[in-house]
Protein backbone atom coordinates (compact mmCIF):
# COMPACT_ATOMS: atom_id res chain seq x y z
CA UNK A 1 0.00 0.00 0.00
CA UNK A 2 2.66 2.50 0.97
CA UNK A 3 4.67 1.59 -2.14
CA UNK A 4 1.67 2.38 -4.28
CA UNK A 5 1.15 5.72 -2.54
CA UNK A 6 4.84 6.52 -2.71
CA UNK A 7 4.89 5.89 -6.45
CA UNK A 8 1.83 8.08 -6.88
CA UNK A 9 3.51 10.91 -4.99
CA UNK A 10 6.69 10.56 -7.05
CA UNK A 11 4.64 10.39 -10.21
CA UNK A 12 2.75 13.56 -9.43
CA UNK A 13 5.98 15.45 -8.74
CA UNK A 14 7.62 14.27 -11.94
CA UNK A 15 4.34 14.74 -13.81
CA UNK A 16 4.14 18.38 -12.71
CA UNK A 17 7.47 19.00 -14.41
CA UNK A 18 6.40 17.14 -17.55
CA UNK A 19 3.20 19.15 -17.65
CA UNK A 20 5.00 22.50 -17.57
CA UNK A 21 7.35 21.45 -20.36
CA UNK A 22 4.53 19.82 -22.35
CA UNK A 23 2.66 23.14 -22.29
CA UNK A 24 5.51 24.73 -24.22
CA UNK A 25 5.32 22.06 -26.91
CA UNK A 26 1.58 22.25 -27.15
CA UNK A 27 1.35 26.06 -27.29
CA UNK A 28 3.82 26.27 -30.15
CA UNK A 29 2.16 23.36 -31.94
CA UNK A 30 -1.25 24.97 -31.48
CA UNK A 31 -0.16 28.22 -33.05
CA UNK A 32 2.29 27.08 -35.73
CA UNK A 33 1.62 23.37 -36.23
CA UNK A 34 5.30 22.90 -35.47
CA UNK A 35 7.01 20.61 -32.98
CA UNK A 36 9.74 22.65 -31.39
CA UNK A 37 12.21 19.90 -30.59
CA UNK A 38 14.61 22.50 -29.19
CA UNK A 39 12.21 23.11 -26.31
CA UNK A 40 13.90 20.54 -24.04
CA UNK A 41 17.14 22.48 -24.46
CA UNK A 42 15.39 25.63 -23.27
CA UNK A 43 14.65 23.76 -20.03
CA UNK A 44 18.35 22.89 -19.75
CA UNK A 45 19.44 26.48 -20.40
CA UNK A 46 17.00 27.63 -17.73
CA UNK A 47 18.60 25.23 -15.24
CA UNK A 48 22.13 26.27 -16.23
CA UNK A 49 21.43 29.99 -16.01
CA UNK A 50 19.75 29.49 -12.65
CA UNK A 51 22.80 27.57 -11.44
CA UNK A 52 25.09 30.42 -12.52
CA UNK A 53 22.99 32.95 -10.65
CA UNK A 54 22.87 30.74 -7.56
CA UNK A 55 26.65 30.23 -7.60
CA UNK A 56 27.07 33.98 -7.85
CA UNK A 57 24.72 34.82 -5.01
CA UNK A 58 25.13 31.88 -2.66
CA UNK A 59 27.98 33.52 -0.75
CA UNK A 60 25.96 36.72 -0.34
CA UNK A 61 23.91 37.49 2.72
CA UNK A 62 20.65 36.91 0.87
CA UNK A 63 18.22 34.32 2.14
CA UNK A 64 18.39 31.06 0.13
CA UNK A 65 14.76 31.36 -0.93
CA UNK A 66 15.45 34.85 -2.25
CA UNK A 67 18.48 33.60 -4.15
CA UNK A 68 16.31 30.96 -5.78
CA UNK A 69 13.66 33.52 -6.71
CA UNK A 70 16.24 35.80 -8.29
CA UNK A 71 17.67 32.81 -10.15
CA UNK A 72 14.19 31.95 -11.35
CA UNK A 73 13.60 35.48 -12.60
CA UNK A 74 16.92 35.67 -14.44
CA UNK A 75 16.49 32.17 -15.89
CA UNK A 76 12.97 32.97 -17.06
CA UNK A 77 14.16 36.12 -18.82
CA UNK A 78 17.10 34.31 -20.39
CA UNK A 79 14.80 31.54 -21.61
CA UNK A 80 12.29 34.02 -22.99
CA UNK A 81 15.06 35.69 -24.96
CA UNK A 82 16.24 32.27 -26.14
CA UNK A 83 12.74 31.21 -27.17
CA UNK A 84 12.27 34.46 -29.05
CA UNK A 85 15.62 34.00 -30.77
CA UNK A 86 14.93 30.39 -31.74
CA UNK A 87 11.70 31.39 -33.44
CA UNK A 88 13.24 34.36 -35.23
CA UNK A 89 16.33 32.53 -36.44
CA UNK A 90 15.17 28.98 -37.02
CA UNK A 91 11.43 29.00 -37.66
CA UNK A 92 10.24 32.34 -39.00
CA UNK A 93 12.26 32.13 -42.23
CA UNK A 94 10.61 28.75 -42.83
CA UNK A 95 7.06 29.85 -42.00
CA UNK A 96 5.81 29.01 -45.49
CA UNK A 97 8.16 26.13 -46.22
CA UNK A 98 6.98 22.50 -46.44
CA UNK A 99 6.36 21.05 -42.97
CA UNK A 100 9.38 18.79 -42.98
CA UNK A 101 11.81 21.71 -43.21
CA UNK A 102 11.04 23.36 -39.84
CA UNK A 103 10.91 19.91 -38.22
CA UNK A 104 14.45 19.13 -39.35
CA UNK A 105 15.52 22.63 -38.34
CA UNK A 106 14.04 22.04 -34.88
CA UNK A 107 16.15 18.92 -34.42
CA UNK A 108 19.17 20.85 -35.69
CA UNK A 109 18.47 23.66 -33.25
CA UNK A 110 18.28 21.16 -30.42
CA UNK A 111 21.70 19.72 -31.32
CA UNK A 112 23.22 23.19 -31.71
CA UNK A 113 21.98 24.28 -28.29
CA UNK A 114 23.20 21.08 -26.64
CA UNK A 115 26.65 21.54 -28.08
CA UNK A 116 26.76 25.22 -27.24
CA UNK A 117 25.82 24.34 -23.67
CA UNK A 118 28.54 21.71 -23.58
CA UNK A 119 31.09 24.26 -24.76
CA UNK A 120 29.96 26.88 -22.25
CA UNK A 121 29.29 24.74 -19.18
CA UNK A 122 31.32 21.64 -19.87
CA UNK A 123 30.39 17.96 -19.96
CA UNK A 124 30.39 17.36 -16.24
CA UNK A 125 27.49 17.07 -13.85
CA UNK A 126 27.13 20.23 -11.78
CA UNK A 127 25.73 19.97 -8.28
CA UNK A 128 22.84 22.36 -7.69
CA UNK A 129 23.03 23.69 -4.11
CA UNK A 130 20.13 22.79 -1.85
CA UNK A 131 18.39 26.10 -1.24
CA UNK A 132 15.07 24.78 -0.04
CA UNK A 133 14.41 22.53 2.95
CA UNK A 134 14.17 18.86 2.02
CA UNK A 135 12.58 17.77 5.29
CA UNK A 136 10.34 14.74 4.73
CA UNK A 137 6.70 14.51 5.71
CA UNK A 138 4.65 11.39 6.12
CA UNK A 139 1.50 11.37 4.01
CA UNK A 140 -0.66 8.23 4.51
CA UNK A 141 2.46 6.12 4.68
CA UNK A 142 4.20 7.79 1.75
CA UNK A 143 7.08 10.24 2.12
CA UNK A 144 6.97 13.63 0.49
CA UNK A 145 9.51 16.37 1.13
CA UNK A 146 9.16 20.16 1.11
CA UNK A 147 10.70 20.56 -2.32
CA UNK A 148 8.27 18.09 -3.83
CA UNK A 149 5.31 19.84 -2.22
CA UNK A 150 6.56 23.18 -3.55
CA UNK A 151 7.05 21.73 -7.05
CA UNK A 152 3.48 20.45 -7.23
CA UNK A 153 1.99 23.65 -5.82
CA UNK A 154 4.03 25.96 -8.04
CA UNK A 155 3.20 23.86 -11.11
CA UNK A 156 -0.52 24.04 -10.30
CA UNK A 157 -0.34 27.81 -9.75
CA UNK A 158 1.58 28.38 -12.98
CA UNK A 159 -0.88 26.23 -14.95
CA UNK A 160 -3.87 28.06 -13.47
CA UNK A 161 -2.22 31.36 -14.35
CA UNK A 162 -1.60 30.21 -17.90
CA UNK A 163 -5.22 29.14 -18.35
CA UNK A 164 -6.38 32.52 -17.07
CA UNK A 165 -4.04 34.30 -19.45
CA UNK A 166 -5.11 32.27 -22.46
CA UNK A 167 -8.84 32.40 -21.74
CA UNK A 168 -9.34 35.74 -20.06
CA UNK A 169 -6.92 38.25 -21.58
CA UNK A 170 -6.64 40.11 -24.86
CA UNK A 171 -3.29 38.46 -25.61
CA UNK A 172 -4.73 35.02 -24.86
CA UNK A 173 -7.68 35.63 -27.16
CA UNK A 174 -5.30 36.79 -29.88
CA UNK A 175 -3.22 33.64 -29.38
CA UNK A 176 -6.26 31.42 -29.80
CA UNK A 177 -7.39 33.42 -32.83
CA UNK A 178 -3.97 33.13 -34.50
CA UNK A 179 -3.86 29.41 -33.69
CA UNK A 180 -7.12 28.92 -35.48
CA UNK A 181 -6.88 31.29 -38.43
CA UNK A 182 -3.86 33.59 -38.75
CA UNK A 183 -5.24 35.29 -41.85
CA UNK A 184 -8.50 36.23 -40.14
CA UNK A 185 -6.60 37.31 -37.02
CA UNK A 186 -4.57 39.67 -39.20
CA UNK A 187 -7.82 41.14 -40.50
CA UNK A 188 -8.73 41.95 -36.88
CA UNK A 189 -5.56 43.99 -36.49
CA UNK A 190 -3.52 41.29 -34.76
CA UNK A 191 0.21 41.45 -35.40
CA UNK A 192 0.60 37.72 -35.96
CA UNK A 193 4.39 37.73 -35.67
CA UNK A 194 4.24 39.39 -32.29
CA UNK A 195 1.69 36.91 -31.01
CA UNK A 196 3.85 34.03 -32.19
CA UNK A 197 6.88 35.56 -30.47
CA UNK A 198 4.85 35.99 -27.29
CA UNK A 199 3.82 32.34 -27.46
CA UNK A 200 7.42 31.15 -27.72
CA UNK A 201 8.43 33.43 -24.86
CA UNK A 202 5.61 32.24 -22.64
CA UNK A 203 6.41 28.58 -23.28
CA UNK A 204 10.09 29.28 -22.62
CA UNK A 205 9.32 30.93 -19.29
CA UNK A 206 7.45 27.79 -18.26
CA UNK A 207 10.47 25.77 -19.38
CA UNK A 208 12.68 27.86 -17.10
CA UNK A 209 10.41 27.12 -14.15
CA UNK A 210 10.51 23.41 -15.00
CA UNK A 211 14.30 23.48 -15.36
CA UNK A 212 14.70 24.92 -11.89
CA UNK A 213 12.26 22.39 -10.45
CA UNK A 214 14.31 19.53 -11.84
CA UNK A 215 17.55 21.07 -10.60
CA UNK A 216 16.23 21.67 -7.11
CA UNK A 217 14.61 18.24 -6.89
CA UNK A 218 17.59 16.17 -8.09
CA UNK A 219 20.35 18.60 -7.14
CA UNK A 220 22.16 17.99 -10.43
CA UNK A 221 22.44 19.99 -13.66
CA UNK A 222 23.89 18.73 -16.92
CA UNK A 223 24.10 19.97 -20.53
CA UNK A 224 22.21 16.87 -21.71
CA UNK A 225 19.40 17.03 -19.15
CA UNK A 226 16.92 18.68 -21.53
CA UNK A 227 17.00 15.97 -24.15
CA UNK A 228 15.18 13.09 -22.46
CA UNK A 229 12.97 15.46 -20.49
CA UNK A 230 11.98 17.18 -23.75
CA UNK A 231 11.13 13.89 -25.44
CA UNK A 232 9.01 12.79 -22.51
CA UNK A 233 7.22 16.12 -22.27
CA UNK A 234 6.54 15.88 -25.99
CA UNK A 235 5.09 12.42 -25.33
CA UNK A 236 2.93 13.92 -22.58
CA UNK A 237 1.69 16.60 -24.97
CA UNK A 238 0.78 13.95 -27.56
CA UNK A 239 -0.89 11.81 -24.87
CA UNK A 240 -3.09 14.72 -23.81
CA UNK A 241 -3.78 15.82 -27.39
CA UNK A 242 -1.16 18.12 -28.85
CA UNK A 243 -2.37 21.67 -29.26
CA UNK A 244 -4.66 21.38 -26.24
CA UNK A 245 -3.52 23.16 -23.06
CA UNK A 246 -5.54 21.08 -20.62
CA UNK A 247 -4.40 18.02 -22.54
CA UNK A 248 -0.76 18.90 -21.91
CA UNK A 249 -1.43 19.29 -18.20
CA UNK A 250 -3.34 16.03 -17.98
CA UNK A 251 -0.85 14.23 -20.21
CA UNK A 252 2.07 15.43 -18.12
CA UNK A 253 0.58 14.28 -14.84
CA UNK A 254 -0.56 10.96 -16.32
CA UNK A 255 2.81 10.26 -17.87
CA UNK A 256 4.51 10.98 -14.58
CA UNK A 257 2.17 8.53 -12.85
CA UNK A 258 2.52 5.83 -15.52
CA UNK A 259 6.29 6.03 -15.38
CA UNK A 260 6.44 6.01 -11.64
CA UNK A 261 3.97 3.17 -11.15
CA UNK A 262 5.53 1.24 -14.00
CA UNK A 263 8.99 1.57 -12.52
CA UNK A 264 7.67 0.62 -9.11
CA UNK A 265 6.01 -2.58 -10.22
CA UNK A 266 7.91 -3.73 -13.29
CA UNK A 267 10.21 -5.82 -11.14
CA UNK A 268 7.37 -7.77 -9.54
CA UNK A 269 5.40 -8.09 -12.77
CA UNK A 270 8.30 -9.41 -14.80
CA UNK A 271 9.51 -11.73 -12.08
CA UNK A 272 12.66 -9.70 -11.60
CA UNK A 273 13.80 -9.78 -15.24
CA UNK A 274 13.29 -6.04 -15.71
CA UNK A 275 14.21 -3.48 -13.07
CA UNK A 276 13.20 0.11 -12.48
CA UNK A 277 15.99 1.18 -14.85
CA UNK A 278 13.46 0.38 -17.57
CA UNK A 279 11.44 3.40 -16.44
CA UNK A 280 12.11 5.36 -19.64
CA UNK A 281 10.58 2.57 -21.72
CA UNK A 282 7.12 3.36 -20.38
CA UNK A 283 7.02 6.87 -21.78
CA UNK A 284 7.79 5.72 -25.28
CA UNK A 285 5.51 2.74 -25.01
CA UNK A 286 2.78 5.26 -24.18
CA UNK A 287 3.80 7.40 -27.17
CA UNK A 288 3.55 4.46 -29.55
CA UNK A 289 0.25 3.30 -28.08
CA UNK A 290 -1.29 6.77 -28.38
CA UNK A 291 -0.09 7.21 -31.93
CA UNK A 292 -1.52 3.83 -32.91
CA UNK A 293 -4.83 3.88 -31.04
CA UNK A 294 -5.71 7.51 -30.46
CA UNK A 295 -3.50 9.86 -32.51
CA UNK A 296 -5.56 12.88 -31.47
CA UNK A 297 -4.74 12.24 -27.80
CA UNK A 298 -7.04 12.13 -24.79
CA UNK A 299 -8.48 15.66 -25.08
CA UNK A 300 -7.58 16.31 -28.69
CA UNK A 301 -11.05 16.25 -30.13
CA UNK A 302 -11.84 18.94 -32.63
CA UNK A 303 -14.89 21.15 -32.46
CA UNK A 304 -17.32 20.49 -35.27
CA UNK A 305 -16.90 23.21 -37.85
CA UNK A 306 -19.64 23.95 -40.28
CA UNK A 307 -18.92 25.50 -43.64
Amino acid sequence: MSILLQQIVNGLVQGSVYALVALGYTMVYGILGLINFAHGEVVMVGAMVALMVVQLLITSALAPVLVLLIALLVAAMACMALGYGIERIAYRPLRNAPRLAPLITAIGMSIVLQNLAMMIWGREYHPFPALLPHSPHLLFGAIINDVQIIIVLVALAVMAGLLLLVHRTRLGRAMRAVAENPGAAMLMGVDVNRVISATFMLGSALAAVAGIMVSVNYGIVHYYMGFMLGLKAFTAAVLGGIGNLRGAMLGGLLLGLIESLGAGYIGDLSGGIFGSNYQDVFAFFVLIAVLVFRPSGLLGERVAERA
Binding site: R173, A184, L187, R306
Partner: protein
Amino acid sequence: MSQLLEVRGLKVAYGGIKAVKGIDFDIAAGELVALIGSNGAGKTTTLKALAGLLHPTAGRLHYDGKSLHSVAAHQRVYRGMALVPEGRGIFARLSVEENLQMGAYCRNDKAEIDQDMQRIYQLFPRLAERRMQLAGTLSGGEQQMVAMGRAMMSRPKLLMLDEPSMGLAPMMVEKIFETIRDISAQGVAILLVEQNARLALEVAQRGYVLEGGVVGLSDSAANLLGSDDVRRAYLGA
Protein backbone atom coordinates in the same frame (compact mmCIF):
# COMPACT_ATOMS: atom_id res chain seq x y z
CA MET B 1 -15.84 64.79 -54.10
CA SER B 2 -12.87 63.63 -52.06
CA GLN B 3 -12.38 59.91 -52.36
CA LEU B 4 -11.95 57.58 -49.40
CA LEU B 5 -10.29 54.97 -51.56
CA GLU B 6 -8.52 55.46 -54.87
CA VAL B 7 -7.27 52.47 -56.80
CA ARG B 8 -5.10 53.13 -59.84
CA GLY B 9 -3.60 50.56 -62.16
CA LEU B 10 -3.84 47.76 -59.60
CA LYS B 11 -2.20 44.54 -60.75
CA VAL B 12 -2.06 41.39 -58.63
CA ALA B 13 -0.50 38.07 -59.56
CA TYR B 14 -1.31 34.83 -57.77
CA GLY B 15 1.48 32.30 -58.04
CA GLY B 16 2.39 33.45 -61.55
CA ILE B 17 -1.20 33.87 -62.73
CA LYS B 18 -2.21 37.48 -63.34
CA ALA B 19 -5.57 37.66 -61.58
CA VAL B 20 -5.99 41.43 -61.66
CA LYS B 21 -4.53 43.18 -64.68
CA GLY B 22 -4.63 46.89 -63.96
CA ILE B 23 -7.87 48.24 -62.59
CA ASP B 24 -8.97 51.74 -61.50
CA PHE B 25 -11.83 52.54 -59.20
CA ASP B 26 -12.87 54.90 -56.42
CA ILE B 27 -15.05 54.84 -53.37
CA ALA B 28 -16.23 58.06 -51.73
CA ALA B 29 -16.76 58.31 -47.96
CA GLY B 30 -20.08 56.66 -47.08
CA GLU B 31 -20.63 55.28 -50.56
CA LEU B 32 -21.87 51.76 -51.30
CA VAL B 33 -20.09 50.36 -54.33
CA ALA B 34 -20.65 46.93 -55.84
CA LEU B 35 -17.95 44.95 -57.57
CA ILE B 36 -19.55 42.28 -59.71
CA GLY B 37 -18.31 39.76 -62.22
CA SER B 38 -18.15 36.06 -62.88
CA ASN B 39 -15.98 33.51 -61.13
CA GLY B 40 -12.30 34.21 -61.58
CA ALA B 41 -12.83 37.80 -62.67
CA GLY B 42 -10.49 38.97 -59.90
CA LYS B 43 -12.99 40.23 -57.34
CA THR B 44 -11.66 38.38 -54.30
CA THR B 45 -8.07 39.05 -55.35
CA THR B 46 -8.84 42.77 -55.47
CA LEU B 47 -10.28 42.70 -51.95
CA LYS B 48 -7.31 40.75 -50.62
CA ALA B 49 -4.94 43.29 -52.10
CA LEU B 50 -6.93 46.11 -50.51
CA ALA B 51 -6.83 44.39 -47.13
CA GLY B 52 -3.10 43.79 -47.46
CA LEU B 53 -3.30 39.99 -47.59
CA LEU B 54 -1.83 39.98 -51.11
CA HIS B 55 0.86 42.29 -52.43
CA PRO B 56 0.10 44.09 -55.69
CA THR B 57 2.67 43.68 -58.44
CA ALA B 58 1.89 47.20 -59.65
CA GLY B 59 -0.46 50.08 -59.03
CA ARG B 60 -1.30 52.61 -56.38
CA LEU B 61 -3.71 52.29 -53.46
CA HIS B 62 -4.64 55.53 -51.79
CA TYR B 63 -6.84 55.44 -48.72
CA ASP B 64 -7.99 58.31 -46.56
CA GLY B 65 -5.42 60.65 -48.11
CA LYS B 66 -2.44 58.33 -47.68
CA SER B 67 -0.78 55.58 -49.66
CA LEU B 68 -1.37 52.04 -48.43
CA HIS B 69 1.99 50.97 -49.80
CA SER B 70 4.03 49.38 -46.99
CA VAL B 71 1.06 49.40 -44.58
CA ALA B 72 0.80 45.81 -43.27
CA ALA B 73 -2.55 44.03 -43.25
CA HIS B 74 -2.99 44.27 -39.49
CA GLN B 75 -2.20 48.00 -39.53
CA ARG B 76 -4.89 48.71 -42.12
CA VAL B 77 -7.52 47.76 -39.54
CA TYR B 78 -6.27 50.59 -37.32
CA ARG B 79 -6.78 52.94 -40.28
CA GLY B 80 -10.45 51.97 -40.51
CA MET B 81 -10.47 49.26 -43.16
CA ALA B 82 -12.30 46.00 -42.42
CA LEU B 83 -12.70 42.95 -44.64
CA VAL B 84 -15.24 40.19 -44.13
CA PRO B 85 -13.47 37.53 -46.15
CA GLU B 86 -14.95 34.94 -48.44
CA GLY B 87 -15.97 31.96 -46.28
CA ARG B 88 -16.35 34.41 -43.36
CA GLY B 89 -13.16 33.50 -41.50
CA ILE B 90 -14.82 33.31 -38.11
CA PHE B 91 -12.95 31.78 -35.19
CA ALA B 92 -14.86 28.53 -34.76
CA ARG B 93 -13.28 27.63 -31.42
CA LEU B 94 -13.95 31.04 -29.89
CA SER B 95 -17.36 31.95 -28.52
CA VAL B 96 -19.61 34.38 -30.36
CA GLU B 97 -18.75 37.05 -27.82
CA GLU B 98 -15.02 36.39 -28.14
CA ASN B 99 -15.32 36.71 -31.91
CA LEU B 100 -16.91 40.13 -31.45
CA GLN B 101 -14.19 41.07 -28.97
CA MET B 102 -11.59 40.10 -31.56
CA GLY B 103 -13.30 42.56 -33.90
CA ALA B 104 -12.54 45.30 -31.38
CA TYR B 105 -8.91 44.18 -31.01
CA CYS B 106 -7.69 47.44 -32.54
CA ARG B 107 -9.56 49.54 -29.95
CA ASN B 108 -9.09 50.11 -26.23
CA ASP B 109 -12.10 52.25 -25.32
CA LYS B 110 -13.71 49.57 -23.22
CA ALA B 111 -16.96 51.38 -22.39
CA GLU B 112 -17.69 52.13 -26.03
CA ILE B 113 -16.72 48.62 -27.10
CA ASP B 114 -19.37 47.30 -24.70
CA GLN B 115 -21.93 49.72 -26.17
CA ASP B 116 -21.07 48.65 -29.70
CA MET B 117 -21.41 45.03 -28.69
CA GLN B 118 -24.90 45.71 -27.31
CA ARG B 119 -25.76 47.37 -30.61
CA ILE B 120 -24.61 44.31 -32.55
CA TYR B 121 -26.74 42.13 -30.28
CA GLN B 122 -29.74 44.36 -30.95
CA LEU B 123 -29.10 44.13 -34.66
CA PHE B 124 -28.73 40.33 -34.46
CA PRO B 125 -30.78 39.04 -31.51
CA ARG B 126 -29.86 35.49 -32.58
CA LEU B 127 -26.26 36.22 -31.63
CA ALA B 128 -27.27 37.58 -28.24
CA GLU B 129 -28.96 34.24 -27.50
CA ARG B 130 -25.81 32.39 -28.51
CA ARG B 131 -23.16 34.69 -27.01
CA MET B 132 -21.39 31.94 -25.08
CA GLN B 133 -21.68 29.29 -27.78
CA LEU B 134 -18.64 28.37 -29.85
CA ALA B 135 -18.98 30.15 -33.18
CA GLY B 136 -18.22 26.94 -35.08
CA THR B 137 -21.50 25.43 -33.88
CA LEU B 138 -23.65 28.15 -35.49
CA SER B 139 -25.50 27.89 -38.79
CA GLY B 140 -24.01 29.47 -41.89
CA GLY B 141 -26.27 32.50 -41.67
CA GLU B 142 -25.48 33.05 -38.01
CA GLN B 143 -21.79 32.76 -38.80
CA GLN B 144 -22.19 35.44 -41.45
CA MET B 145 -23.82 37.63 -38.78
CA VAL B 146 -20.83 36.99 -36.50
CA ALA B 147 -18.44 37.89 -39.31
CA MET B 148 -20.27 41.14 -40.11
CA GLY B 149 -20.78 42.06 -36.48
CA ARG B 150 -17.13 41.38 -35.81
CA ALA B 151 -16.07 43.64 -38.68
CA MET B 152 -18.36 46.40 -37.38
CA MET B 153 -16.74 46.15 -33.96
CA SER B 154 -13.61 47.76 -35.42
CA ARG B 155 -15.70 50.83 -36.33
CA PRO B 156 -14.58 50.82 -39.94
CA LYS B 157 -14.75 53.71 -42.39
CA LEU B 158 -14.56 51.25 -45.23
CA LEU B 159 -16.21 47.84 -44.91
CA MET B 160 -15.32 45.29 -47.58
CA LEU B 161 -17.65 42.32 -47.94
CA ASP B 162 -16.67 39.28 -49.99
CA GLU B 163 -19.71 37.27 -51.14
CA PRO B 164 -21.83 37.78 -48.02
CA SER B 165 -24.74 35.86 -49.57
CA MET B 166 -22.74 32.76 -50.46
CA GLY B 167 -24.29 29.51 -49.30
CA LEU B 168 -27.10 31.15 -47.34
CA ALA B 169 -30.83 30.42 -47.40
CA PRO B 170 -32.93 33.10 -49.15
CA MET B 171 -34.39 34.39 -45.86
CA MET B 172 -30.91 34.80 -44.45
CA VAL B 173 -29.70 36.55 -47.61
CA GLU B 174 -32.50 39.04 -47.17
CA LYS B 175 -31.53 39.65 -43.55
CA ILE B 176 -27.88 40.13 -44.46
CA PHE B 177 -28.69 42.62 -47.22
CA GLU B 178 -31.01 44.48 -44.91
CA THR B 179 -28.08 44.79 -42.54
CA ILE B 180 -25.83 46.01 -45.35
CA ARG B 181 -28.34 48.79 -46.01
CA ASP B 182 -28.39 49.66 -42.29
CA ILE B 183 -24.62 49.83 -42.07
CA SER B 184 -24.49 51.97 -45.17
CA ALA B 185 -27.11 54.29 -43.71
CA GLN B 186 -24.80 54.83 -40.72
CA GLY B 187 -22.31 56.41 -43.11
CA VAL B 188 -19.87 53.53 -43.48
CA ALA B 189 -18.46 53.18 -46.98
CA ILE B 190 -18.98 49.66 -48.32
CA LEU B 191 -17.29 47.77 -51.10
CA LEU B 192 -19.55 44.83 -51.85
CA VAL B 193 -18.30 41.91 -53.89
CA GLU B 194 -21.09 39.61 -55.02
CA GLN B 195 -21.82 36.88 -57.50
CA ASN B 196 -25.47 37.72 -57.04
CA ALA B 197 -25.22 40.83 -59.21
CA ARG B 198 -28.88 41.79 -59.03
CA LEU B 199 -28.94 41.88 -55.23
CA ALA B 200 -25.70 43.81 -55.12
CA LEU B 201 -26.78 46.41 -57.67
CA GLU B 202 -30.10 46.87 -55.91
CA VAL B 203 -28.41 48.08 -52.72
CA ALA B 204 -25.40 49.82 -54.27
CA GLN B 205 -25.11 53.35 -55.56
CA ARG B 206 -22.48 52.56 -58.15
CA GLY B 207 -21.03 49.40 -59.61
CA TYR B 208 -17.99 48.11 -61.41
CA VAL B 209 -18.09 45.02 -63.59
CA LEU B 210 -14.87 43.01 -63.55
CA GLU B 211 -14.12 40.79 -66.53
CA GLY B 212 -10.96 38.72 -66.70
CA GLY B 213 -9.07 41.00 -64.33
CA VAL B 214 -10.03 44.34 -65.89
CA VAL B 215 -12.93 46.74 -65.36
CA GLY B 216 -15.35 46.11 -68.21
CA LEU B 217 -18.06 48.56 -67.22
CA SER B 218 -18.60 51.16 -64.54
CA ASP B 219 -21.72 53.16 -63.99
CA SER B 220 -24.43 53.96 -61.50
CA ALA B 221 -26.05 50.85 -60.12
CA ALA B 222 -29.36 51.76 -61.71
CA ASN B 223 -27.81 52.10 -65.17
CA LEU B 224 -25.97 48.81 -64.77
CA LEU B 225 -29.19 47.08 -63.73
CA GLY B 226 -30.80 48.47 -66.89
CA SER B 227 -27.90 47.70 -69.22
CA ASP B 228 -28.53 44.95 -71.77
CA ASP B 229 -24.92 43.72 -71.58
CA VAL B 230 -25.05 43.35 -67.81
CA ARG B 231 -28.46 41.72 -67.90
CA ARG B 232 -27.35 39.14 -70.43
CA ALA B 233 -24.06 38.33 -68.75
CA TYR B 234 -24.82 38.58 -65.02
CA LEU B 235 -28.49 38.86 -64.31
CA GLY B 236 -29.65 35.86 -66.28
CA ALA B 237 -32.32 37.77 -68.19
